[in-house]
Symmetry: none
Subunit: 253 residues, 2 copies
Amino acid sequence: MQDLSAIRIVLVQTSHPGNIGATARAMKNMGLSNLYLVSPKDFPSGVALGRAASALDVLDNAVVVDTLEAAIADCGLVIGTSARSRGIPWPMVTPEECGEKLVAACRQNSVALVFGREDSGLSNEELRQCHFHVQIPTNPAYSSLNVAAAVMVLCYEIHRAALKAEDARDAATEDDWDQPLSTVADMDGYMAHLEEVLTRIDFLDPKAPRQLMTRLRRLYTRIRPDRMEINILRGMLTAIQTHLDKAGNRADT
Amino acid sequence: MQDLSAIRIVLVQTSHPGNIGATARAMKNMGLSNLYLVSPKDFPSGVALGRAASALDVLDNAVVVDTLEAAIADCGLVIGTSARSRGIPWPMVTPEECGEKLVAACRQNSVALVFGREDSGLSNEELRQCHFHVQIPTNPAYSSLNVAAAVMVLCYEIHRAALKAEDARDAATEDDWDQPLSTVADMDGYMAHLEEVLTRIDFLDPKAPRQLMTRLRRLYTRIRPDRMEINILRGMLTAIQTHLDKAGNRADT
């Protein structure tokens, strides 16, 4: 899967160290590693370590800063979490769109997803520093999510978006390639040719072939070479054979 | 939004009361109210109350039972959470599909989403009582989610599915079916009856049952028979028994 290390999770003035630990665990579960803490009330803390379980590396590498500005200054995209729209309306994204935007932008930029205080969230001033606001849909009768629970949901959506992007890229490879893919027959021809050469160079013992050819077939199948590439590969084999022939002739004379 | 009270969240042998409290909060945030606790280690507990925040009503109304069977006997659809597939493979759904299935089925049936122990999840025996298994995609290097975090993600998907269903009342099979689904108790009764008959006709050797009954349970679970169908299936078993009895009587006389 795509490298997600350019995505940072930023927690602003978190009061309860348990939420920092739970955030680290949720991040690592979802393939994220880059945690920024803006003026945490209680950190480092044994409580955070306990709740982080096996994500201690995320806590160890957490960057502690004094202001939100310091956490996001070098970011090309910043999305802030907001329980409700406040002050003047801001561009809003759904959790799904939030994941997609972060995953797309993190290929070329540092990007940040920002979470506010347990009791009061992000201030209007802080929300204005974000390009987008994201809101997790909730039961209107009880909309206040625990901050680590909100982190879990949005990291889950980031991970989901990364998996989807991977699928889409696989599909795009099929579509856009500049050469036709090699056929099964091409591959069979190549494998036969390869076997012949490997036998001749005593790399393969036909009497005890073990799994060698199977492993090689799996490897080349995974590459899915296009027509031109398979011609190149076969050309290399032919070149080896020609060379051996010549050497043989010389040895004979 | 659709009433989701027929969806119950079942926690099996939870060790840490904090996870029970966080589950209650996540449920209420996502519009769910129906919590079952199977042999919790420490409940009621002040720690659970603290983590539940304003979801005390969910804790107050939680149903405590001794066994998973007691929590799901009357359910028409049961989905169990599984970190990995174990034993023989079972029908799997994604978190998104899990939400959709529960929301669709809960219109006519009680349905359950089951979470296992913090350290070891659900047992194979428990997983076999579920119609589907759901797995939250994770970082392969650290796949162990906190149980309350898993509850949060799957309740979020339930809520998302309910919102989507509201937007576009999609025609799910569950919705249109003319008969109520068979319950877990119906299926248990059928499986016991089937085992009895198979033993009698020497198809099943109780001393060497191998995986036969598990495979048959998987097969019938996949069908998800309605009430009428399960009555037909049981009727067939009874007919076989009656026939064998008569033949036995004739042989005796």
